[in-house]
Each structure stands twice: as C-alpha cells, then as structure tokens.
Symmetry: C2
Subunit: 287 residues, 2 copies
C-alpha cells in the first residue's frame, strides 16, 4: 500500500499508473507536479490525481513514492527540481525509455545516487499523448523492466516491483546497459526505420500518389511513424550509443540484401526472407 | 456478365476473385488450372470453382476471361502453357504485383501481345495463402490498378474493369513503369525493410531475449515480414530496377538520419520526425 504517490509529469504514462493504482486500491493519495496549472486541473477533473502543484516542493511533500514520468529529455531538469525536496524515506523511480541517460542525469543531479532510486521502464504506450488519454488498463499483461543500481536498497526495489505488479504488469530486472541495447533493437531502431521510410516517400515527387496506393501492410508498418517527434528526438540522443550500433548493423544487412537483389542472388534472398519469416512467426505465437 | 471465367493458379487472390464474382452473380461458370489435382478438388469442395484441370488446354477451353493468378515468378511459364490455347475471343489479365516483368513475359511467350491482354494488379491480400483462405469480400473497397497496353483493345479493358468493379473494388489506370515505381515505394521497399529488420535481430546473439521485450509497435511494424518468402523473392527480382532505385534513396536518407544522431543534430531529427508524422497522419486520415 502506497500512502502518497506523486507523479512528476502528467501524461498518458503517469496518468495511467495513477488510475491503475487507484483501481487496485493500492494508493491512498495521488499528487502531481506539472508545469501548467491547467494540466493539474484537468487531471483532478478526470479523477486521475487528488491534488497537484506547479511547485515541486509542494507537490512531493509527504510522498512515499515519486514517479518521474516526463519525456527522457526533461528528466535531468526534473531531478534538479526534486533534489532539495527528496527525503531518505521517499522511493524514486522513472518511466524513461532509456536507462543509461536517466541514471547519468540522476547521478549528476543528486551527486550520490539515493538508496531509494530504482530506475524503471514500462513497455507500454499508445500513439496518444496527454493525461486525457490515460486509462487504468494500460499496463495489464505488459512488461515493466526495472534496472536496480548497486545503490538501490532492497525495500525500494520491492516497493516499485509491487507497484507495477498491482497494475497487472509483469516485472523483470536487467542491467542498465543491457536494457538500452535490447530497447535500441526492438523499439528505437524500428521507429527510426518507420520515420525514415515515411519521410523518404513524402519527399518523392509523386508522394501524394504514392500514399494513395499504399495498402494495409503499409498502414501497419508505418503506424509508429505517427509517434511524438519531440519524445523520439529525446530518445535518439539519450540512447545514441546503442542505437548507432544497431543502426550500423541493420544498414550493413540492408546493404547485403540490396546487393543480392542487384546480383539476382536467389539463395541469399530466400534465406533472408525465410529466416525473417520464421523469427516473426515464432515471435507472433508468443506475443 | 462473364460466361466462363478461368483462374490459372488457385490461391487466395484467384479464389477470392471467383467467390466475389459468384456472389455478385457476375459469372456463369468458373474453371481453373492448377498443377495438382488436390488443389482443384479442394477448390471444388469449397465452392470456389465449378470444375478444373491440370491440363491447361482443358482448363481454358471455352473461357471468356482468363485470369493468371500465380506468383509473378511463374507467370512466364503459365503464358507459355496458355499460348496454344488462347483464342482472339478470350480476354486475358493477371494479378501480378509487378507489371513490367509480366508484360515482358507475355511479350516473350506470345510474340505479338494479344489485343485481349490487359495487365492488372489488385492491391489486396492477407498474410494467408492458399485457396482455403479465399473469401468473397477481399476486394471490397480496395484499389485495382490496370495498366492497359497500346495493344489492349477497348472492350477488353472494359471487361476487366467491370469484373473488378463487380467485386467492390475501385479501378484505376496507370502506365506499366509508373505502376512499378509506385509499388516499389509503397509495398516492395517496406517489405524489404521488415524482412531485413527481423533478420538483423534474429541474427543477434541475444535474439531470443530481444523478441521477448518487443512490444505492440514492433508487432505491427514487422507483420509483413511474415509474408511468403518465395513470392517476395519473385517480386524483388521482377521489379529489380524500381526497387533498387528506392532502396538507394532510402539508404541515403537513413544514412543522413544516422549522422544526425551521431552529431546530435536536433534540428535534423525533429524536422525528419515531424515531416514523417505529418505525412503518416494525413495518410491515416484518408485510408
């Protein structure tokens, strides 16, 4: 049971967490920090939070758990704002899509990393943004990755684990660096490809006509290109190293495939397509 | 009204066409050519065709419209088999995803292109294959592109146009080369990217774990990597020129995006993502 949850950054992710914990009866009081009073008023109106403030000190006063749920590019600033108000009793987590950059920002802001700090990343979301899009079921059956640090205390890890489990999520742990590699491959790289593809086509002379004749496969393939540009800008730069490594690997593989098409290398083409279909079909069965 | 429709190649595409025309009361009799008698028996059992033969001459005897609905890699062989049996009264079309290669194959097989030949391409399909997956509604609201040739007679074009309209499709016309460019961009390139991405990840050391943490966006993005490898092998090689052109363009754009990530070029990243999101959102509204 969480006495007071404080959400820093009121959007889909933080709002859905608040709603899920309320629905599960796992939290007594939810407060929030937001930059704009209108966001707080909206969230109170929606029943997402009980109270909130544009003053960080007022927002987190009395918090047992603080969840930073802003885009990763803003977390350094939030940690700075939090620093004077964080007490040793507070457990602190975040929901950032990259973990190395968040840990570096926390380290920078706090000097010594607090024992209550447990970095986290719920693998969930929609193309919608904002607290109005929040819903209690967002984390049902989804994965949440925690990347506890050497500095993280056992009770803090346990609190954050139970918090996400109460939302219906499956919690797993891994190292910070490993998290960033896995996410670069499964999420950040696909987003780069979707953005790049749609942009390539949009810049072609006959772009209007091209989109006219795109079919269902194209719609599915490019859905993630509708994601928030500012958020993805942040993620790219925050996970630069791991993303560049996997981009390089992909570009080399695409180069090989291109040469196989050029040379009419049927063997290479069939092997690649079969291996990919096999992996995708196995993945689809599990999902 | 089509007196006798003959489907050459009994799969999802040909089978669904037969079912749609039957349901619309637009065809009196449907026959088919298939390599294996079991396919014919299955299609008769499913009510897709009335009769069929593994002998091309018997299958097309009496046909008013012949539709070649095999993978594009097999069409040259089908045209060869058809040649001795095609009469000037028969209207001939195909459903190939590439049009330049099909026209070249027809030209090779028939010498002079028949006035009854009208190349076509229904922009429809599922990840399912085979006649058992056929359903009458497949073409409802979908586009069918016809690429009539200088040799195509007006009445033939009209017959094929009405045939697809009877299935609920919207029929548009364009040139062969233009078709191949548009499809390379909207369909063939995305398939290459999806196959290449899944293959890149499948070949990484931690591939099992990577697929474990992939989320909904990844599932949508990679759905087309479950497509038929042999069919896509054929399409790649059949539309090699146009596909290589757009692959080159995409690779250059992805290279630029990679350099922007490397250099922390926020402006370039935001511009690219915003332009892509804008184009994708406009596309999604129309679709």
């Amino acid at each position: 049971m969480i006495e007071q949850l404080t959400i820093v950054g009121l959007g889909l992710i933080g709002g859905s967490l608040a709603l899920a914990l309320k629905q599960a009866g796992m939290v007594s009081r939810v407060t929030a920090y937001a930059r704009r009073q209108e966001t707080i008023d909206e969230a109170i109106g929606l029943g997402v939070i009980d109270s909130g403030s544009t003053d960080m000190g007022l927002a987190v006063a009395g918090a047992s758990v603080v969840v930073v749920a802003t885009p990763v590019g803003v977390m350094a600033e939030m940690f700075e704002l939090l620093r004077p108000h964080l007490t040793p009793q507070m457990v602190l987590t975040d929901v950032g899509s990259t973990k190395g950059s968040v840990v570096a920002a926390a380290s920078q802001a706090f000097g010594q990393l607090p024992a209550g700090f447990v970095p986290g990343h719920p693998i969930a979301g929609t193309e919608e943004n904002g607290v109005a899009a929040a819903f209690a079921e967002l984390y049902q059956g989804r994965r949440v990755i925690l990347t506890p640090l050497d500095s993280s205390s056992e009770p803090s890890v346990s609190t954050i684990r139970q918090m996400w489990q109460a939302c219906g999520a499956e919690v797993v742990e891994m190292g910070v660096e490993h998290h960033d590699e896995v996410l670069a491959a499964t999420s950040h790289l696909p987003h780069m490809l979707a953005f790049a593809l749609v942009d390539t086509l949009a810049r072609m002379d006959e772009s209007e006509e091209i989109f006219e004749f795109a079919a269902g496969g194209f719609r599915d393939f490019t859905r993630i290109a509708s994601s928030n540009p500012a958020m993805w800008h942040d993620i790219c730069l925050a996970n630069r190293g791991a993303l560049l490594a996997v981009l390089q690997r992909f570009s080399a593989d695409l180069g090989e495939l291109t040469r196989a098409i050029e040379n009419g290398d049927s063997e290479h083409l069939l092997q690649t397509f079969r291996r990919a279909k096999g992996a995708r079909d196995r993945f689809a069965e599990k999902f």
